[in-house]
């Protein structure tokens, strides 16, 4: 589902973020991406979402070779990927419902369908009762769960998350990670970057360890 074939990424500043990186993530598989900060975790996720382009090598996501996607094709690729961010990136001037509905509105989903799917997604993250609230009135953990609902509402085949528990206390972090595990169980391919190694190990999923842009280890605890 996600394939990296000898991918290197060198930024304009000369910093080499990824170096000849190869790995494969099967459809419906879940993996954690870990390593110290600056190891290349964020760069890897950015390449998957076409926020950056590789300097060398090939990346394939969802059966599509990303090298061949030109600028105009980028939005369509992104619509096939659910993204969760450390700082959740919710729109603070819109309700929880409108935030979660955004990917569907962008994709041009009919209105009655939007209502059904948004409520289903909010129900899944346990926030159905907050649909009319403003994101700012929610706790950090709840905001992150709204972000997750937004990422999965359009039923993407691939879900990626960059330090989704970075701002959460251990208990909330565990809950959020468990949520990602549930999405994998319904067939979504999940790739989560996290430096919280104890938590990652508790999850019992595949772990990819990056160091200086190289794959240091690939194991299953």
């Amino acid at each position: 589902m996600i394939t990296f074939d000898r991918v290197s990424k060198r930024y304009a500043s000369g910093h080499e973020a990824l170096n000849e990186l190869s790995f494969e993530l099967a459809a419906g598989e879940m993996a954690f991406l870990t390593g110290h900060s600056g190891a290349g975790k964020s760069t890897l996720l950015k390449l998957v979402a076409l926020l950056e382009r590789p300097s060398r090598g090939h990346i394939s996501v969802n059966g599509q070779n990303l090298t061949q996607v030109r600028r105009r094709g980028v939005p369509r690729v992104r619509r096939g990927i659910g993204m969760v961010f450390q700082d959740h990136r919710l729109l603070i001037d819109r309700s929880v419902f409108d935030n979660v509905a955004l990917p569907l509105v962008i994709a041009g989903t009919a209105r009655e369908e939007v209502g059904k799917r948004v409520r289903a997604a909010l129900d899944k993250v346990g926030l159905l009762k907050y649909e009319a609230s403003q994101p700012a009135t929610l706790s950090a953990g709840e905001q992150q769960r709204v972000g997750i609902a937004r990422a999965i509402v359009a039923k993407p085949a691939v879900l990626i998350a960059d330090e989704p528990t970075g701002n959460l206390d251990p208990q909330l972090a565990g809950e959020v990670m468990a949520l990602f595990g549930e999405f994998q169980q319904v067939g979504t391919t999940v790739l989560v970057a996290s430096h919280d190694l104890p938590l990652v190990k508790r999850m019992g999923k595949r772990v990819l360890v990056l160091d200086h842009g190289k794959l240091l280890d690939d194991f299953r605890p």
């Binding site: 939005p75 992104r78 619509r79 990927i81 962008i106 041009g108 009919a110």
Partner: protein, 325 residues
């Protein structure tokens, strides 16, 4: 080869049912953008009002100028038979001599027709005009000379008329020659100049309106950078991100157009009473008209297009550059 594969893969399998849904969703999105952008304008009433004031002035000024010119053109058009040459004969030339002179002129190849107006007829014409009747009562004699109204032959060129004009002026029986076409030409040259000036003026102010709208939309885009970035992360294409800003420009154009027409209506209302008095004093020999419905709808349409275009330029420049961070 590779390109074709990408195209085939990129296209999602879209059954007819989904297409129908998408079309409706597309309409809903447009309607939503239309009203939400109006809501955004209403949310910042002072900034919006100031922008609209500048825009409506920029639109109203050339419109007013054009209206003035259009009226001036109407006045010029009321002068009948502009090519006619009026020849006032010396007072000592009697009617019989005048008729002989007219007969002589009819023989000229450049002359189409000659009408002889004896002094009595001239006096009668003056009497029929307001204000002159009383003045004429105090006169014990008819001071008017005999008048010949000569129409040059229709085929004769302007310089031929001018030659005829020179010939007539040289004739000893002639006191004064009035050649209407001359001042008529001057008037039309002045009007032509005014019209060109108005066009330049309108183009410059349209450019100013475009810049004002462009800059307003640019600020709007800068203020919503985070929202735009999130939308792009979620897979919104340029058209989706641009749409609300285009509607904002459309609203600016439409509201400014309506405001400028209201401004012109106020000016027309303000000038109506003194203008009526002026035309009455001229015995209603000319009429002043307001902006026609056609001109109003044209101005409104132009204003809407300007608003949309200004927003499109700003949005295309600033959104294409802003890839999400």
């Amino acid at each position: 080869m590779n390109r074709r594969i990408e195209k085939n893969r990129a296209k999602p399998a879209a059954p007819a049912q989904r297409d129908k849904f998408s079309q409706r969703a597309w309409r809903e999105q447009h309607l939503y953008s239309l009203f939400s952008s109006l809501g955004r304008l209403a949310a910042r009433p002072i900034a919006t009002a100031l922008t609209l004031a500048v825009l409506s002035l920029a639109l109203a000024l050339p419109l007013l100028f054009w209206l003035l010119l259009d009226n001036a053109r109407g006045l010029g058009g009321q002068v009948e038979d502009a090519r006619a040459i009026s020849v006032f004969l010396k007072p000592d030339i009697d009617i019989a001599a005048a008729n002989r002179f007219a007969e002589h002129l009819r023989g000229d190849a450049q002359v189409g027709s000659v009408v002889v107006k004896p002094p009595e007829e001239g006096l009668e014409e003056f009497r029929s005009r307001a204000g002159f009747a009383d003045a004429l009562k105090v006169l014990h004699y008819n001071p008017l000379p005999t008048l010949l109204v000569i129409s040059p032959r229709a085929t004769a060129a302007t310089d031929a008329s001018a030659k005829l004009f020179a010939q007539l002026r040289g004739n000893p029986a002639v006191d004064l020659v009035q050649y209407d076409a001359q001042w008529r030409q001057r008037l039309s040259a002045i009007l032509e100049l005014g019209e060109r000036g108005a066009a330049v003026f309108a183009a410059l102010l349209a450019l100013a309106a475009l810049l004002v709208i462009g800059n307003t939309v640019r600020l709007d885009i800068a203020g919503r950078a985070e929202e735009i970035a999130v939308m792009q992360l979620l897979g919104a294409d340029d058209g989706f991100v641009r749409r609300p800003f285009l509607y904002t420009g459309l609203w600016y154009g439409m509201l400014a157009g309506v405001m400028s027409l209201m401004l012109i209506a106020i000016v027309e209302w303000f000038l109506a009473a003194p203008l009526a008095a002026l035309t009455a004093s001229y015995d209603h020999r000319f009429a002043v008209h307001a902006l026609s419905l056609q001109a109003m709808s044209g101005a409104l349409a132009a204003s809407v297009v300007l608003g949309w275009l200004g927003a499109l330029i700003a949005a295309s420049r600033h959104i294409a550059l802003g890839q999400p961070k």
